[in-house]
């Protein structure tokens, strides 16, 4: 548990952070450090430098404006889990954040860090895709926004360009007709998701007017379950319809992750179970 040598810089502003990243090829951004630092201690990661963005005030805080909920990249999992603004406007984010790791991890780990790290077993990516978030990033070419659907590109890989830093995550505030739920089957050792499913259901006139379902943990990045969604849209959110829709999970989820604890075959099975349970909870 002894990392190799690295340089350490504390950035006072976003611009300075981006400048430091450009001047130090091989540098990594340090936010909460709860994924990066253990990897460095195991010498799985060996960045030449860390650019600590932890004190950049612009990256903190949760706000609601014009029907958009914006969460600063440095907001900790605990802050998201306990935020009345998040609970009231996108409850599933708070529910999922409350299930990440343990209390100590939730007190340090950040939403931006989790998304940038793009761990296939992480919880946020699955939820972010389901709620259709926009991820705002800042880099050498200024600000841009990336749709969550195109943000994750592979195992631990994202659409972030060199020198870019996530600044915030924005989701549309949900009204009372919309409910979301995240169902996680955790690994007993790590607490990471073996499989996690997120379902967002809007109901009108007794039927599902829109449905969004994603599954993480089975594949390199979370996948959207279009077959499940379309099977339920226009139907009543009852157990029979949900079960029939969840049975279509395998149209979208073809697990590539698999280990001694949970084979890909088992993860495929769990995906359908988790989708059903997430849909049930989101329809209750």
């Amino acid at each position: 548990m002894f990392p190799a040598n690295f340089d350490y810089y504390r950035a006072g502003s976003l611009a300075e952070a981006v400048d430091l990243l450009q001047k130090n090829p091989g540098a990594k951004v340090l936010a909460g450090g709860h994924s990066l630092v253990p990897a460095m201690k195991l010498r799985v990661a060996g960045p030449s430098a860390l650019v600590d963005i932890g004190r950049i005030a612009d990256l903190k805080g949760i706000s609601l404006a014009n029907g958009q909920l914006t969460i600063g990249a440095l907001t900790t999992h605990a802050e998201v889990a306990n935020s009345p603004l998040v609970k009231d406007n996108c409850g599933v984010l708070a529910q999922a954040a409350g299930q990440i790791g343990d209390q100590m991890i939730r007190n340090r780990g950040t939403i931006g860090g989790s998304l940038a790290h793009a761990d296939p077993a992480a919880d946020y990516p699955t939820v972010i895709r389901a709620v259709g978030a926009m991820i705002t990033v800042f880099g050498p070419n200024g600000l841009r926004m990336i749709n969550a659907d195109s943000f994750f590109t592979d195992l631990f890989s994202t659409a972030l360009a060199d020198g870019e830093i996530i600044t915030s995550v924005t989701v549309a505030a949900q009204d009372a007709s919309t409910r979301g739920s995240y169902y996680k089957i955790p690994h007993p050792a790590s607490g990471y998701a073996v499989v996690g499913a997120c379902a967002i259901v809007s109901q009108a006139d007794g039927v599902c007017s829109s449905v969004s379902v994603t599954v993480g943990g089975a594949t390199a990045n979370p996948v959207r379950c279009a077959g499940v969604e379309s099977a339920l849209i226009g139907k009543a959110a009852n157990e029979a319809n949900i079960a029939a829709a969840a049975a279509k999970t395998d149209e979208s989820v073809n697990a590539t992750m698999g280990d001694q604890y949970a084979s890909s075959e088992y993860r495929n099975h769990l995906a359908a179970v988790a989708v059903k349970r997430a849909l049930m909870a989101a329809s209750a």
Binding site: M1, F2, I185, A189, Q260, Y261, A262, H269, V273
Partner: protein
Amino acid sequence: MSKLVGQSIKRKEDPRFVQGKGSYVANLNIAGMAHLALKRSPHAHAKIVSIDTSKAAALPGVIAVFTGQDLIDGGCGKLPCGWNVPNIKVPTRWAIQPVGDKVRHVGDTIAAVVAESRYIAQDALDLIEVEYEVLPASLGAKATVTSGIVIHDDLPDNTSYPWAIGDLPAAEAGLSAADHVVELKDLINTRLIANAMEPRAAAAQWSEMTEEMTLWTTSQNPHPIRLLLSAFTLGIPEHKLRVISPDVGGGFGSKIFHYPEEIITPWIARKLNRPVKWVATRSEASMTDSQGRDHVSTIKVGVKNDGTITAIHISTHADQGAYLSTFAPLIPTALYLTLMTGLYKVPGVYGEVWGTITNTTPVDAYRGAGRPEACYALERAIDVAARKINMDPIALRRKNFIPANEFPYQTPVALQYDSGDYHKLFDKLEEISDYNGLVAKRDAARAAGKLAGIGVVGAIEASGPAPSKVAGALGGAVGFWESAVMRVHPSGKVSLMTGSHSHGQGHETAFAQVVADELGIGVNDVDIVHGDTAKIPFGMGSYGSRSLNVGGSAIVKAGEKVRNKMLKIAAHQLEASESDLVYDRENGRVYVKGAPSKSKAFGELAFAAYTAHNLPDGLEPGMEEQSFYDPANFTFPNSAHIAYVEVDKDTGEVNLQKYYAVDDVGNVVNPMIVEGQIVGGIVQGIGQALYEHGAYDADGQPQTLTFMDYAMPKAQFFPRFEVARTVTPSPHNPLGVKGAGEMGTIAATPAVANAVMDAIAPLGVEHIELPLTPQRIWKAINKI
């Protein structure tokens, strides 16, 4: 009459532990201290063709790099095995494997780097170039015998020893006489990693002036380590070698043994004439600490239609890993098959075991050590038998109990159980669990379409090993007595030096309660001194739930000697005959029978012993007494546990909803500490049932070197444990106590396994191997 024994006094050691003020080896910093890191083999089995340390040695901040040959040339010997059963072939190892030899498990040591900082030492490890000739790995407790891969040249079939006990014809006759023979074939008892909270560490300081070596090591037994270092591995004579085990953060058996780092660290400290410290990383601990269990067994139990057990036959292959750790052969022999009859009176009993060698981390004692393996095999088989004859699992067990009036009871497998009342034990269990209500709850859950199950276990332990001559007859190179020195200071305060060692058990409190009651003084008037060979008499340390049975008994014996001497002084000063005096153990004074005002207080007598102004003729001054206590027998704690689970049909996840435990650990000194031991043990046992598995892949690569993969049981996984006790005192030790440290671990694994099997039995599943992970259960219930 006792005023402190039996009370849940809060632990005297806890204020320093909970405030982070413990004194651990890793905290030790001495001016000029250098840092040691060890190059570990990445291969399970390979010949070491060459090592080039030049780049590492050239790194700024590196002080020296050593290889195996350096230590051999410097006089270090091979690590010995301290338990030699008949016909054993002992595969040995060096502290560091030299070029030309082989590495035999991932984590085997190749080279040592000493540097000015731990970080530099770690960088240097990456610069050591090793050329290996990689060999195929031989794996599996049973499969290794026929793998055709030779790990040690003198063990062509990878078998170190055979061992057997019991009466084979009687067992075969019993199986023939049975109405049913239940067989569990190739039953696996999983390999476990102990994972003490504190990883192992060693630090050493050499005094050039006095030619004395001080070694700090995370050991459960510093004196035996000193003896092994002096006699076999390091060569520094015992009177010039001080071994200190300060605060140690858990051991669970893994810190009993003599490890290579205890040789390498002091050898380098002397070579460089600098203090040196080594602290294992968690992953290093996971690949080098001795591990537990890892049996493959076939058990046959004969049972009549009325539930009478007629025979037990066990055949086991016990994986000992790549080398024999210090006491490895003891565990699957005298601590395993001798317990194979459990709580039951069985006429036909036979057990045999082969200790086998594989390309894995060595296996030795781990909490329970042999006894959990015996209990798991037997209690699983009895559970299958109960289902086969459609008998209530408690009723079947009761049918076969050794009756309370037959103690002491000679088993057919060498042991003589000291005391017990197993019906009373199960009466209490049925009472606290509302057993009938629990059965009704299960049946109602089943009727509602759920998978619900109840698991029952009756467990026995042999704790507090053991009469030393018995240990010798069984192959032990050590005795199993314990020592105590009771030093009464002139002011009446007491230092009690014990050869036992506390690495979390709470000796500083429980032992102080015993001392205080022996003398009639306050618990805060006593300090327990342990873990330093320069301060305490030769002692055997702590393992096998022996501290209070054996170490506590030595304290009682030393206390008797102190009281006797105090009586002599009091008789002289009160001008009374000793037989007319009473030692008041509640108030710490000696008085004349019938005239309580004529008395001497404990402190007065202590002071008088040291002034020596007015002592009886011929009585030596001072007040310090010693005892070496050799136990007359093991003690035999026993327990009855019930687990209630529901299994998620869709995911295979186990939801442990209720757990009840009744344990008979004899008399109890500190109920709070005992409850902590029982509950902690239960959690560890459930860990084996549901979560833990030290797994290797087909190449011998360990798969669980971090807590990302090795699933330790966590508090949030569990319901509240309902625990209770019954008491049948041990008749052969002065406190009437039995071991409490391992009972929970022994009983909990089969209790939960039996509950899960009960839950899924309606789906036609008879047995699943440990650990009962959701995937395994899902596969079994879906016949995948």
